[in-house]
């Protein structure tokens, strides 16, 4: 499918992540964040189980401890990034109107960034003990 004036072969054109050099970025990040969450899921579940039945003071104390805060922040970064890419794929599969698609992709980004920053802010606030 190379143009009439190009001497590059089809293989040469797609090497190094494709012609724009970023074609597989989302694919790679989706796997990267998936592996990160696979590693983090056991500690995250243990943390949530530790919080069952505690009141706010008890929960705040546990969530404010440094290793727990770091694990949760890492998990939030990985999961919100993963879900941003996943939802964009779903939108691009089912929304065919260009304007609605553009608005949906934008709303998806806003939602994921808002969830990520709100959650991280809450953890940082708990860590600082304010």
């Amino acid at each position: 499918m190379s143009g009439p004036r190009s001497m590059r072969t089809p293989l040469g054109r797609v090497r190094n992540l494709g012609s724009s050099h970023s074609g597989t970025t989302d694919f790679w990040r989706q796997r990267l964040t998936a592996v990160a969450m696979t590693l983090l899921i056991v500690p995250v579940i243990v943390i949530i189980l530790m919080l069952i039945g505690r009141n706010q003071a008890g929960a705040a104390q546990i969530l404010g401890s440094l290793p727990i805060a770091i694990i949760l922040v890492l998990f939030i970064v990985a999961s919100t990034w993963h879900m941003r890419i996943g939802m964009q794929i779903v939108i691009e599969d089912y929304v065919h109107n260009e304007k609605i698609k553009l608005a949906s992709v934008m709303a998806n980004n806003f939602f994921c960034i808002a969830v990520a920053l709100a959650s991280i802010y809450a953890i940082l606030k708990l860590s600082s003990g304010v």
């Binding site: 189980l49 039945g53 959650s119 809450a122």
Partner: protein
């Protein structure tokens, strides 16, 4: 004038007989979408913990209710199923498990592991905290 070219379309979902891997592919996407909105629950819970006792009590009132428990149970299964089903995709990404019996086994494994882990987590949850 450019005439509209009638290109062949690939047959859509309804054309195919439902297979296990196909059903699980749809469930993988559905649980992903559920988890997307379920994250709001996680964010709400963290913000409440940071806000104070009143806000946290609201979360606990919700998670203690029947509807809250059902949503949390669904969320747990969605998370653990999506995890197990996702591990299956790692095998395929690496080029393993494409023979008919292998992909069936991987898919059954993901389904059973997801349900088993969900039940296990809830048993531990009730043993540790006596429910939420």
């Amino acid at each position: 004038m450019t005439a509209r070219i009638e290109r062949p379309l690939s047959p859509h979902l309804s054309t195919y007989r439902v297979t296990l891997t196909m059903a699980l592919s749809i469930i993988h996407r559905a649980t992903g979408i559920a988890l997307y909105f379920g994250t709001l629950l996680l964010a709400w819970w963290l913000i409440a913990a940071a806000s104070g006792p009143g806000a946290y009590a609201n979360v606990q009132a919700f998670t203690g209710s029947i509807i809250g428990k059902l949503i949390l149970f669904g969320y747990t299964w969605s998370l653990l199923h999506h995890l197990c089903s996702g591990i299956r995709y790692f095998f395929w990404d690496l080029g393993y498990g494409f023979k008919p019996n292998e992909r069936e086994a991987l898919t059954w494994g993901a389904l059973i592991a997801g349900i088993s882990l969900t039940v296990l987590v809830w048993i531990i949850a009730y043993t540790v905290g006596g429910g939420r």
